[in-house]
């Protein structure tokens, strides 16, 4: 993690060339995914989990806060989407908004209790709240359907005023998720490169220093956690649509651990795109290795150990380091790969 000058021109842009390349590449996925032995639903899953991982990385990578119970907010978003659809109004935008707001409120409540803590105590408080929400979702049969989950959630049509799209088909839904994902990524990119995002990154380096510079550390920590929870909940709402149901399973400690793993394997600590890389790797490994052997978690666990040992900065970090060797390219700062993996964003 050497200090490299951050790419000023990119960080002020709303959309970087890398994003454009990524969107175009992702837009072609439904055309070939079935031919390589995978299926369109996997594409949907990857996009939703990528959004979730990016939201999670606001807390882990940007703010350096160890949150190990983030599945709770993803799950709360999924339930909120379903319950809003059943009990309030069956409108896509309202229900997605509900997922965002309810998960954000849950996040804000937790942030009240934990934002004055650090390190192991912060980490375990997030686990404790994660377990509390998880237990509540399992035990409140009447509201959430208990362990059976909240079933029969519909993919509501996307009404844009002029035109309305039916999302029941996986390919149509894929393009809808891609559209939402693109908007959300632009928003997140702006956020982490905004003055607010810079303060958050400063808090990651040293809370004491940031406090002495006059920033209200508690408020920043609480707000980034709330925001991360809200966006995770939004992704959860999309996930409820994808699955046509909401289950307590995603809120369990295991699943919360997986999102940490995906984010770190990909390189979330050093790169904006790290979490996305990790989600791609994790979900594709799950399907490909999982098809060959039942013990895919064993092999993924070994891979994870190897990454922590030899490439602790994750895959994006490793690729970034590879490209930094070509220092001429680095100085010009126009290597497509380097842009894609945002080498040396702040450290």
């Amino acid at each position: 993690m050497t200090a490299t000058p951050s790419n000023q021109s990119d960080s002020v842009r709303l959309m970087t060339p890398a994003m454009l390349v990524l969107w175009l590449a992702l837009a072609t996925v439904p055309l070939w995914i079935a031919r390589v032995g995978l299926y369109p639903y996997l594409g949907i899953e990857i996009l939703i989990w990528s959004l979730y991982a990016l939201a999670f990385n606001l807390v882990l990578g940007t703010a350096g806060l160890p949150s190990f119970g983030h599945g709770a907010y993803f799950g709360i978003g999924a339930y909120a989407f379903g319950l809003c659809q059943f009990n309030v109004v069956a409108n896509l935008w309202v229900c997605l908004m509900a997922a965002f707001v309810v998960a954000g409120l849950a996040g804000a409540l937790v942030a009240l209790f934990i934002s004055h803590r650090r390190g192991i105590y912060y980490a375990f408080m997030t686990i404790a709240f994660g377990q509390i929400f998880w237990t509540l979702s399992i035990k409140s049969h009447k509201i959430t359907g208990g362990e059976d989950g909240l079933l029969k959630i519909a993919r509501l049509p996307a009404n844009f005023g002029l035109a309305s799209f039916d999302l029941a088909d996986n390919v149509a839904f894929y393009y809808f998720v891609l559209f939402v994902f693109a908007l959300a990524v632009m928003a997140l990119w702006r956020l982490v490169h905004s003055p607010y995002g810079r303060v958050i990154a400063a808090i990651k380096q040293s809370e004491t220093r940031a406090a002495h510079l006059g920033y209200h550390v508690w408020l920043y920590k609480a707000s980034i956690f709330t925001l991360s929870a809200a966006i995770s909940g939004f992704a959860g709402g999309l996930f409820a649509m994808a699955q046509l149901a909401a289950f307590p399973d995603v809120m369990s400690l295991h699943q919360s651990g997986y999102i940490v793993m995906m984010t770190l394997v990909g390189g979330g600590l050093v790169s904006f795109w790290g979490p996305v890389v990790g989600v791609f790797l994790f979900l594709i490994a799950r399907d490909v290795i999982g098809a060959l052997t039942n013990a895919w978690m064993l092999y993924f666990g070994l891979l994870f150990i190897a990454i922590v040992l030899f490439r602790p900065e994750g895959i994006a970090g490793a690729i970034g380091a590879l490209f930094e060797k070509h220092s001429a390219i680095r100085r010009q700062g126009n290597s497509a790969m380097r842009l894609l993996f945002g080498g040396g964003r702040w450290r």
Partner: protein, 306 residues
Amino acid sequence: MFDLLPHILNGLTLGLLFALIALGFMLIVGLMEQINLAHGSLFALGAYFAMQLMGSRPPFPADMAKAWLALPLGWRYAATLILAPAAVGIVGIAIEFCMRPTYGKDPLYGLLLTFGAAMVIEETIRLTWGTRDYVLQVPQAVSGGFLFQDLIWSTYRFYAAGIAVAIIGLVWLLIEKTSFGATVKAGAHDSEIVRALGINLTRLRLLVFVFGTMLAAIAGIIVAPIWGIRPHMGVDAVIPAFLVIVLGGVGSFWGAVMAGLLVGLSVGLTGAYASEWSLLSMYVLLVGVVTFRARGLWGKKSVLEA
């Protein structure tokens, strides 16, 4: 009030078991400032090894197995209490070797490494023994129950609590009253000076880690007859262990023991009135304490809070 007595006793024995489970975790956190998330998996591994040793097909060559099976159950149990933790200790050595590059870095890396190790061990358990439940045989002397105040009490629970008290006492003596304990504590406090004094810190860390993993295995063997043996038991153990340490405060021996008792009491008492919510009570307890106390109940300053 008297109706409460069984629940309080039940909670206290449960609390001693929680303290026992947390003991190895606490040693590694307190003396090495590393969070060993594989603790639960090593706990499970101890129980599985013991089950294999106590079962009808011990993992020995044929004639040795015959001689082993001819021994009385009590002898075999006593031997298992040593053999199974020793075998888990070997796994501990392997994990410690992997952990060496993470020393001195952000504690997050050690935590992640052991999370990976936990995944691998749990998956290996699933592949070797399947997902079914097993029962650990125990000698006649400590199984069964007895009558007291018109209630039937499980003998094993009291035996397990007694063992927990004994092991907690022994570990305390080792850390506080021997020169080994003094060196280890000094090593955690200022590794550079300890190294300059000519003490082999690498070996010291290895010893502490292996000792911690063996304690995990012993806890697994003691708790197995109560909780049953299944692949998930590791996760069921590591979370309370972690919770007990955070509640008691990092670096405090008696804090962890007291926290274990408190967690046991809260789980036991909630279980008596609202069994569905009994496990939730420990999280609520933790949130209640850590919201107001920065380092748990009796925690000390540690790099883990940076």
